[in-house]
Amino acid sequence: MVTIDLSQVSVREGNEQIRAAGAEGHDIEVLNPDARHHIGVGLIHPVTVTVRGSAGYFLGGLSDKANFVVERNVGWGLGDNMYNGSVVVGGNAGAIAGVAIRGAEIVVKGNVGSRAGQVMKKGTLLCAGNANFMAGYMMYGGRIIILGDSGERLGEDMSGGEIFLGGPLNSLGSDATLTDAEQAEIDDIRAFLDRYEIPFKGSFQKVVNAGKKLRYGTSETPVRSIPYFTFSGQSDYWNQKVQEDVYIKSQIGRYRVRGYGGARAVPHLTDIAFRKDITAASIGDNPVDDVEMKTLIGGINGAKPLTLTMPVMIAPMSYGALSRSAKQAIAIASGMAGIAENTGEGGMSDAQRDAAKQLIFQMLGGRLGWNIHDMNRADGLEIYISQGAKPGFGGQLMAKKVTKELAEIRGIPAGIDLRSPSRHPDILGADDLVIKIEELREATGYRLPVSVKLGAGRIRDDIKIAVKDGFDFVELDGMQGSTGAGGAEVMEYVGIPTLSAICEAERALASIGRRQDIEIVLMGGIRDGVDAVKGLALGADAIALGTSAIIAGGCIACMQCHVGQCVTGIATQDPEHEKRYKAKVEAQHIYTFLESVRWQIAAITKALGHKDVKQLSRDDLVALTPEAAEITGLPYEPDRRNVDLFQAAG
């Protein structure tokens, strides 16, 4: 037994000692916890941690196999994301007890706060006292047992799993229904109660999902889609596309869902240009050798930074939206180019991890595929708040793509139209967010950069929160970014342009004198090296490419990503379709494209008279339109429209 006294050491030191003791197989006793947060997070060994008193937020979070015993109370997020293992709490638990668990047994002898078991996937959460508002909210699987009062709206928006209620039912949530419990289920609960020595002789009611909201009622009529390039940038009044939308909606009675990004013309990087006439600049035979492009991202607070051979990353795209093969191709290409890849929502595959030399692991509100083991093998951790194509919305993965294998990785029922939560269970404000960031850092020993993905909305406020909460970098995503599936109107009319996003972010950080305290990776419709240089000159520390990377790898921009029958094998989970995708071949194409980006960045940087990409600045830019000038504050020089840059840089 190892004893750790938190009146003598910090939680950070305490957790290091807990992990070290666990690795050697010793049980641990924690004295004077005094409701401190993050006790035991990241522990992955089968030892017992006994907390003599009360613990704060995320007790035992992001752990596997360990057993925790807390003598009195715990705060929010008890056992967050636990795989196997157990927690027994002698007193009460705060909100979201058992959030996102994936197999653990969690026993609370007193009451639990609101939203107990939110987005849980597997395992058992037992509340011997009363539950509170919306227990079982958005749960995907597993079992909740409540011996006391249910609280209001039990099982709100649950899509899987079971809730057994021993006490009075206050009210049922949306899409939850009462059903009969089988004797075998009751016997199993009795055995569970006996095992944890909880006396209860009453009977149980069972609550499950009613199945009314798991899928869209009517599917879209199949039509030959209008190519993206036909309708994008056109009038948005009565064109062919608008007509088609009206027709489809007359059949299905709801908004349309499609893949790809917004098509409405809004000011973009094409509306700014380089101040200097570089058409005649001499760039030599190989500008790549003459320009320093190496970029470190994520190290400003002491974590090990991502080391990029050029200021470019791959934008987050999920295995789920994309096929395993497509993710593998992108990962291989990113490794060849010496840049970082990103998992997006939905977990990390071995193929992707093996292929990518540097991989950022993204955490979303549904905690789909999120777990401590993949965190430990990531090179960066990212909290997704929103994305440029559909700020304020969660991911959408239509039933066709939610295969058995994919559902297993994500811990959800197969074959549902997955509408991921738009909010995190434990991030309801900047104050909660700071505790969440700390949990990720504690769990991984402060080794990894922690970033935030922000879809551009109220950037001047959001970026201040990002820096004050201590993120290492932000992935800032404008509305020209694409998505695997989103409401069509949302993509066109929600969000703000990438150009506005970076300029607002820069201004907001300058206004509080904190620009040096965070790094910005800009994305959202960045197509090539020319756009990349403009983004860097506007202030970004690096840029990220999503759509252009998948187009380089064979995407034909049909916008049917959400359907799941992608003819190229990119945006599908159907093995027959995926077979068409030759990951190694496409990886070479993506890599070759990335090298063209590298050459363009180097050539333009050199032509502008710089030796290092870090020397790029707003002084290198002018605005070509009044709108772009207004947004960026750059000088308005419409005459520069006539310069054929592609000829110059090609």
Partner: protein, 303 residues
Amino acid sequence: MCGIAGILFKHMDIDRDTGKALIDMLDGCQHRGPDSTGFALYGDDHPGEIKMRFYVGTGNEAGDAIGRLREVFAEQGAELVDDERIGSAYRAVVKFSGDLQKFSYAVEHAAKVMSIGESLEIVKDIGTAHDVDDGYDIHHFRGTHGLGHVRLATESDVKPEAGHPFWATGFSDVAIVHNGQITNYWKMRRRLERRGFEFVTDNDSELIAVYLADKMSQGIPLKEALRTSIDDMDGTFSFLVSTKDEIGYAKDHLAAKPMIMFENDDLIAIASEEVSLNRLFPGKALDTREPPPGSYNTWSRST
């Protein structure tokens, strides 16, 4: 975006370490808001006297503001008993027996009012609980009850006057600390403005304070005002309110903002996180309670 704390010693003993207790509680949850820290403290009161605190800054503008204030005091028939400059604040004790609401609107035009009351004094500034204590000597403050707040500034600037607690402008001795946001702010504010109330800031917390104080001035008990506030305010909120003799809380129906409380024969303490409550009782596991969604309550000091 913040952390809140409140404490009330139940027995009418003015000689309690309220200042130190609030510093400890706020230090425990400083991670929730590193930008600014504030205290609402209820000390000894003297019949016929009111205490006033203003934000005047630290440069030459402070002297000008104090000059203007002294003129307004004279115009309004308030007799200055005592005054001093502390940090960026100006504290004045006056004898006044007229219409307090009218008086407070008048002084507001001379300088930024932080609080007015027979026993209430609000102290708030940029920095941590310990920073503010260093500047304003909070830990020596003794009294029966008080509130505290740590703030992470998001939508508004990091300025001392934008911090919490908020005084219910125009109403003696009412203060509030709030975690969350009121989404029908402008609607509620316009409703109150039409009835002649003035607002000093655009902060939603001030609105809650004025809303509650208005109800109380109509003879509605604080507890009843808290009950109606939960239905009248939209948004996510957990807030604490204090008057000369009471503290109370309200929490919205969605329970999105944390709150936890500990009560024994001697005191009631409420905070955003248990770690703050535990600062009052190091090494001891507390029998705490989390208030349910949509709940409210009040506690009085016994007289």
